[in-house]
């Protein structure tokens, strides 16, 4: 399951989960629409290992500014509250899974 986050729920989600991946997207972004079903699949396949969420950067610009997001799709990844290098742009599913599991 992919949890929908906003500026208010963002921090708690990272605190409550050991490994977190957040898909930052916007409605007009076609590559974001392409990656969305892949993110859903990863969420199902890594259930119990990685908490997967998405954040609409159009509605939640505070987070976009705070994390310096200037291209979407961006996958923000955190382990034990520490942010790791984000994955920007379209990436193959296996590459995303390997990266998150390898944190």
């Amino acid at each position: 399951m992919v949890t929908e986050l906003d500026d208010r729920t963002f921090d708690a989600f990272i605190e409550d989960n050991a490994v977190v991946m957040i898909d930052c997207w916007a409605p007009w972004c076609r590559p974001c629409r392409l990656i969305a079903p892949v993110i859903e699949e990863i969420a199902a396949e890594l259930k119990g290992k990685v908490a997967v969420a998405k954040l609409n950067t159009d509605d939640n610009q505070g987070i976009a500014i705070r994390f310096g997001i200037n291209a979407i799709p961006t996958l923000l990844v955190f382990k034990n509250g520490v942010m790791h290098e984000p994955l920007v742009g379209l990436r193959p599913k296996e590459e995303i899974k390997d990266y998150v599991l390898g944190l």
């Binding site: 916007a26 972004c29 950067t57 291209a71």
Partner: protein, 292 residues
């Protein structure tokens, strides 16, 4: 009862010949000079002696398509949308053409420029999608890189967000209308090419072919015309991550009435395959508009 073919390379031209000979109205939209075959030497295509001139073969093919009854518009498509049972295809000169069936045959487009700094600063100020990322550049300074319609559209779009928009285009090839729209919206055209993107952790500026340096926060690389995978997405086809549009053996995509052929359906990127698929797509699109 009409078919629009987007792309005027070997796949599009062969599709035009077969669809027009099947007695449906055919409009082919695309610049033959944009085909990868244009200016190339051809050695591995059936029936060609020695090194054949790709440009010449395209010219002969285009003449065949026109003699078969197809109409050719030598310009690029900027958008495609579904309109009832038909598709509305917009071109860079501002025209809209309606069609019952569409054949996508616009090949694969180059997206990367391969200049120093581009790879390192991707996602840190370098973007390949102005439509996706425009909102992050409100009040900032950006450069748009590219000579064709996609760059012109990006330059115009960014003027609605950024404080300053520089369109870097050494040889503008977009239509006069699109260039004028970008300029009147406030984009400043600079007739040079990009040499290097500078920045430490994020983009700080660009170096141009004339030796000058420009302070910018964002660099939007928008090469070529609207890519075939973007056009496919306009009507709800989801391409693979590398832009390939999947088809069945009959060149049918996942959307009824939309066919695809040539390089955009995946490797091998060969004229022989483009022509073969073009014939299949042309015949099947003609049958589709006749309700067969």
């Amino acid at each position: 009862m009409s078919v629009v073919i987007i792309g005027a390379g070997p796949a599009g031209i062969q599709a035009a010949i077969h669809a027009a000979r099947a007695k449906v109205q055919v409009t082919m939209i695309g610049r033959t000079a944009d085909s990868a075959m244009y200016g190339a030497h051809i050695e591995n295509y059936f029936g060609v002696p020695g090194k054949a001139d790709g440009t010449e073969i395209l010219k002969v093919g285009l003449t065949q398509a026109l003699r078969s009854g197809a109409v050719h518009m030598d310009e690029n498509v900027t958008a495609m949308e579904r309109s009832g049972d038909e598709f509305a295809i917009s071109t860079e000169s501002g025209l809209t053409v309606n069609a019952k069936a569409v054949i996508l045959a616009s090949g694969v487009s180059r997206r990367k420029l391969n200049v120093p700094g581009e790879k390192e600063l991707f996602g840190k100020g370098v973007s390949y999608c102005a439509v996706c990322d425009c909102n992050f550049y409100k009040g900032r300074r950006v450069a748009i890189i590219g000579d064709e319609s996609e760059a012109a559209a990006a330059a115009e779009l960014m003027t609605g967000y950024a404080a300053a928009v520089f369109w870097i285009t050494a040889a503008p090839k977009a239509s006069g209308r699109m260039i004028s729209n970008a300029e009147s919206a406030g984009a400043k055209i600079i007739g040079e090419s990009l040499v290097e993107i500078k920045g430490d952790g994020k983009v700080s500026g660009i170096r141009l072919s004339g030796g000058s340096y420009l302070d910018v926060d964002g660099v939007f690389i928008e090469l070529g015309a609207r890519s075939s995978s973007d056009l496919a997405m306009d009507v709800g086809i989801i391409p693979d991550a590398d832009g390939t549009v999947r088809t069945d053996d009959g060149c049918r995509t996942s959307v009824d009435g939309v066919f695809a052929c040539g390089d955009m359906t995946g490797r091998p990127w060969q004229i022989a395959k483009a022509v073969g698929q073009g014939a299949v797509a042309g015949l099947n699109a003609a049958a589709y508009v006749r309700g067969e």
